[in-house]
Symmetry: C5
Subunit: 254 residues, 5 copies
């Protein structure tokens, strides 16, 4: 309940996160070129001036912890996640790291995915409740990925449901939420409004046309986003650093 928990991730009051949990969520095929190498990504995050990096436990252990990176870039440890092998109808991201261990690895925040619309929604909400309180005790920020997914969801980008997801993030005690793009500035503004004092970042998603992606970032920043979390749109780009610069201009109003 320390208001400054998000401070390590802010620059000019804004947030630019490099997400790198694709190896777990989507498999190594997603990690094209050098991006298969965690060291390459950590160097990119530092050189690119990102305000935070998102890693799973194993990569944090072997590449971030005890290394120089710890002084150069703030870590969000993603403590749950889903593997894209089993095509079960009801998606469930399992918890694979404790908040305590995330803290030990040097993380300043935990990341947790909630799928609204899953039959296992209740299990995630209970678990989130527990890890949120544990993070409070450890003085860590709590960042929730609140997505619509599961047998009850027809459209993951439904603007009303995305506003609902934002509100759920606030009601459950997230400090920041990562949501999908609901299709327009007005819809994103509604989601930001629903989130109240909980900060909102855009989830970058799959690789888009470069200009199209930048345009969306402009829209969400105007609509009140505190920043964006990018991954494939940067590291699948032919020149990740210059793409990063273009994004920073928008996010940090440099």
């Amino acid at each position: 309940m320390n208001n400054n928990l998000l401070q390590p991730f802010l620059k000019n009051g804004k947030v630019l996160l490099l997400a790198y949990d694709h190896g777990l969520e989507l498999g190594p095929e997603t990690l094209t070129g050098q991006s298969i190498d965690p060291k390459y990504i950590l160097d990119l995050a530092v050189k690119g001036g990102y305000t935070g990096i998102i890693l799973q436990k194993g990569i944090a252990e072997k590449y971030y912890y005890g290394a120089d990176y710890q002084k150069k870039i703030s870590l969000i440890l993603k403590i749950n996640g889903k593997i894209n092998v089993s095509q079960s109808k009801d998606p469930y991201p399992s918890l694979n790291c404790s908040a305590e261990y995330a803290k030990k690895l040097g993380a300043k925040a935990i990341g947790y995915t909630i799928y609204l619309g899953s039959e296992q929604e209740a299990k995630m909400l209970e678990e989130f409740g527990r890890v949120q309180e544990r993070a409070r005790q450890l003085n860590m920020a709590v960042i929730a990925w609140v997505y619509l997914r599961g047998p009850f969801i027809k459209d993951e980008h439904n603007p009303k449901l995305i506003a609902y997801a934002s509100r759920v993030g606030l009601e459950l005690g997230a400090d920041m939420i990562k949501i999908k793009y609901p299709g327009s500035e007005e819809f994103f503004r509604k989601a930001v409004q629903a989130a109240g004092k909980t900060k909102v970042v855009l989830a970058g998603g799959p690789k888009l046309d470069e200009d199209k992606f930048l345009e969306i970032i402009e829209v969400v920043m105007r609509a009140g986003a505190v920043g964006v979390a990018v991954g494939r749109n940067v590291f699948q780009n032919q020149d990740p650093l210059s793409m990063t610069e273009r994004i920073k201009k928008i996010v940090f109003s440099d």
Copy 2:
């Protein structure tokens, strides 16, 4: 087992609660106009002279805890809740906050929903048993929302079942219960009688015609209710404060 646990919520021995968990239970669309903003609602609760406010964890953390409100209005932390996205046949409100954390946030009572008629009834009853005892250790009041809902329930307002729900509240150790309107003064009186020393408040429910709603409040107060919990019938009203005054006249016999 301190008899005065409900004291912080009483005025003239009566209770007037402002419920504000609709963002989680029904989504932000329900929160029309300024009511999307928790600060607006907290100010309304204070100005309106409510004897308690009902919030979920996240809103208590970011708007109530550590703020002036803590001195001005007593908090009931609703520690479980259901999100209205998954249309699963068997409703289940998941626990998202511990009694300990509710206490830390300044709550004087915990609120917990039990759906009688759900296939997961046993899970709720067990969990309620645990949090009720934890609340006793923490010297907090226990307020149960005892509703009829699930595949076995044809009519959520069935008067016999509502009297049964009231009795369950007493048998399980709630200090106060929130029940739906069973349709008549006589039926409400039966429910109050079944609840014994457990206090009964009416659950306001969806927005009704103003006079109709006030008439129901009169009926239940005559029938032995200790008060009402209102939400949409106030904040969806064009003039929430004057509606509040009309309710107070009835509840507190001002």
Copy 3:
């Protein structure tokens, strides 16, 4: 493993219990007339000279604990129970009170229902195993309601199954069991024999013709029962106290 744990419930070596968990198990409609009021029942138990009263947590908290009753009548806290709203095929009585809290409320014994024949039998047996050991640590007697109920049971009064239920009570470590009437003195004797050193009381069941009910009590006392647990056959009687006197004559051989 203190042999005298049942002592608080004995008079002339016999037991006469007033059961009052119908509000939870069957609903307030069962509690006709004044019996809806727990105070009336507690007074009846004291005046009638019962050797013990059976209550759920909430009623013990609000009417027994800290009151004079605590000196006048011994309490069996029924720590699990089933609500008669959901008509699920597989009956399961959920645990709603801990042995520790039962002790704190002044109980000298815990009561626990086991349904043999339920698909959830294993869950009950495990839970009973745990609470039985907890009761031993707390020096409380353990009383098991061992009933036949569930999809595998055609007749809840099957004498062979009732003898089996009795034996289960002994094998699992109950100090006393409450069983249904198996139809004859000989069958009841078999059940008593199967229970060994575990004491057996008759479960009173639904309201019967007064003489018929007294005759059954005579039969079971001859067959070796240590006593009876009564409820509806007393408090639904027009004159509960004189009915109590008639029962006492048989049970205590007064």
Copy 4:
């Protein structure tokens, strides 16, 4: 990991156990004549010179603990078991006693049933893993009943599966296992070989013709069994003590 944990059950390096958990597993009908009375069985065990007796918690509490028997015969507390009322397709013996409590009751070993071939196999294996380690901390021997039972098993006496069951006993850390008769000396020898340093006893099973039963004991002792566990073949015998003597001649090579 004390090699002498089985010592209390050995005579001439051999084992003769009297099993008496039939009241739970099969019901009191199995306990013909005086065998319904635990005291009769305990006296038989002492007089007959058995090296151990197998009881469930309740009988150990009320007949063995604190009595003279504790000095005269070593106790194996059977901590899980199945009741023969529900005819569920998937057999599961529920845990009803902790290793700690077994120790307190004077047991020198815990007994645990594993059904290979049940859909709930994994649950038993996990639980066995936990109680095995707890028993190690308490310096108690661990005896596993490893049986083939469930929807995947056509023949509970299949010799290959019985050898597999034996091996499972070794791999999971049992000090002694109780297995069914696989039909021949050669098959039993295979099972003994698969069990390695884990000792093997024959499970007596239902009442057989006296000579037939003794012949099987001769076979298994030749095949490397450390002894037998008997129950119905002794206490359903017209002269249990003389039947015991005939068994002892074979087992102890008296």
Copy 5:
């Protein structure tokens, strides 16, 4: 997070492990000839110069712990496993040993199987998360068997899925993973690349033609494997020691 946790298993920076959990996973029939005897296998491991041996709890207790072997060969305790009796569609290896107990038995590493593609994937991932962190506290290495198995898997040797499995090992915090052969050097190299700093060993699998097996070992060592885990290809061989020598030449480049 000690970088040298795998040190006890390295020789010339390479690893040669003798796996001996077949008694649990496949049954004693797999353990042909002398290999049924754990002592024979432990002697083979020592004489053969293996850098580690893989055992289940029971065999470690009775043959390794407290014996001379503890000084001669490093132990990987396999803490979960599946029995090949129940043909359930959804494979699940149950946890049968704690990391603490593995440590006590002298293990320098824990081994844990994860089946990607099982409906119970989430349960394994959560459990692995917990034991991985426990192993860190105990300063033990963590070795994951990451296999593709279950209703969603058509081909357990699918090279893309094997690379995915490797990456999962890295992301979840394994120090070393054991994977199946994906069919070619190039595919194995992809898997090694996906695993990053997590070491990769080949799972030997069923008995193959001797030359064919050695050829595969050459391929995987060229592709970046840190070594191999062998079992049936050695102990089912007519001359296990000379087969071991041939393998060592390739693995250690002797």
